[in-house]
């Protein structure tokens, strides 16, 4: 595929765009997995919430 005289700029913009969005997605999934693991560890150790009222939010 011929991208004309400005091929480098087109490729670069798509590359930066993909890189940023992929790293953002990857970070979100990594963070989600980490929080889930922390929560499971705490629950396995027998930690309980004080009341059902404060669940989730504080």
């Amino acid at each position: 595929m011929d991208l004309g005289p400005h091929a480098a700029f087109i490729v670069a913009s798509y590359a930066v765009f993909t890189l940023v969005l992929v790293s953002l997605t990857a970070w979100l999934f990594y963070d989600g997995a980490r929080q889930k693991r922390l929560l499971e560890d705490l629950e396995a150790k027998g930690a309980r919430r004080r009341s059902r009222e404060t669940e989730g939010t504080k």
């Binding site: 087109i10 930690a47 989730g56 939010t57």
Partner: protein
């Protein structure tokens, strides 16, 4: 109205939100991928622009980025309003999760815009009215993130950031008008753009090229697809934030219990 109220009230429960978003997330992601793939496929198979040649391909990611940057700020403003006025428990989670995603898209609009500008204008950066107002939007995002991270108390940080977001959304139209100008012919209102005072407008076209149907439809599909991607990432971010708050609540409860045990032991 009544029904809408009850739906938002149902969603207010984080546990229910976790269950619902868990089922919804893969579908959102799937729709996003299909729409983006279709939009970009049609965009790349369309004939090149007669004026801009192949660089028009950058438009299919540049325009959605700029749109999502603005939509992200609107989403933060609405969430902030929900937090301050209705004290909706998920509103702050939503505002906090949207900020980095909106900032990322705003930054991408700047980067792709400048990479598009180099072949068109001859330099990476011109103080084009639109580019400048996107840059200022990016500064507003930075302010929101900086304020939230520099206040220790989380609930205090949430509310203060919400106030800043609402102030920002009130002033943002004035920033946009002062930079980009405003023209309402039927009112006889004509405010010139800021840069027309500084440089001749013939250097670059402020109105942009007219868009052809073979470019418009791919652009609409890709914009819709990236919007779905935004909401996928936003929902994921909200889920992470809810989990983070649960972990924090559990840790605090643990510390409290340990302290109680110590107190009992000391009393004996």
């Amino acid at each position: 109205m009544m029904q809408k109220q009850s739906i938002t009230q149902k969603l207010a429960n984080p546990t229910r939100f976790m269950a619902l978003s868990g089922t919804l997330l893969p579908w959102l992601a799937g729709i996003a991928v299909i729409l983006i793939a279709y939009g970009l496929y049609r965009g790349w198979t369309a004939p090149p622009d007669y004026q801009q040649g192949e660089t028009i391909r950058i438009m299919y990611i540049h325009v959605p980025s700029a749109w999502l940057g603005m939509m992200g700020y609107a989403l933060i403003a609405v969430s902030s309003f929900g937090l301050l006025v209705f004290r909706h428990p998920l509103a702050d989670v939503s505002a906090k999760a949207a900020a980095p995603i909106g900032a990322a898209f705003t930054m991408l609009a700047l980067v792709t815009g400048s990479l598009w500008g180099k072949p068109m204008w001859g330099t990476y950066w011109v103080w084009d009215a639109r580019l400048t107002s996107v840059l200022l939007l990016f500064f507003l995002y930075l302010g929101l993130i900086a304020l939230r991270t520099s206040i220790e108390d989380e609930s205090l940080a949430s509310k203060l950031t919400a106030v800043l977001a609402l102030v920002g959304v009130v002033i943002l139209p004035f920033i946009k008008i002062s930079v980009e100008g405003l023209s309402i012919p039927w009112l006889g209102l004509e405010i010139p753009a800021w840069n027309t005072l500084h440089q001749p407008s013939s250097v670059f076209r402020t109105d942009g090229p007219k868009i052809h149907a073979s470019q418009l439809y791919p652009l609409l599909y890709s914009a819709l697809g990236f919007t779905f991607l935004f909401f996928t990432l936003h929902m994921k971010g909200m889920r992470n934030e809810i989990l983070r708050r649960r972990v924090k609540a559990l840790r605090i409860a643990e510390v409290d219990r340990a302290r109680e045990r110590e107190a009992v032991a000391a009393a004996e």
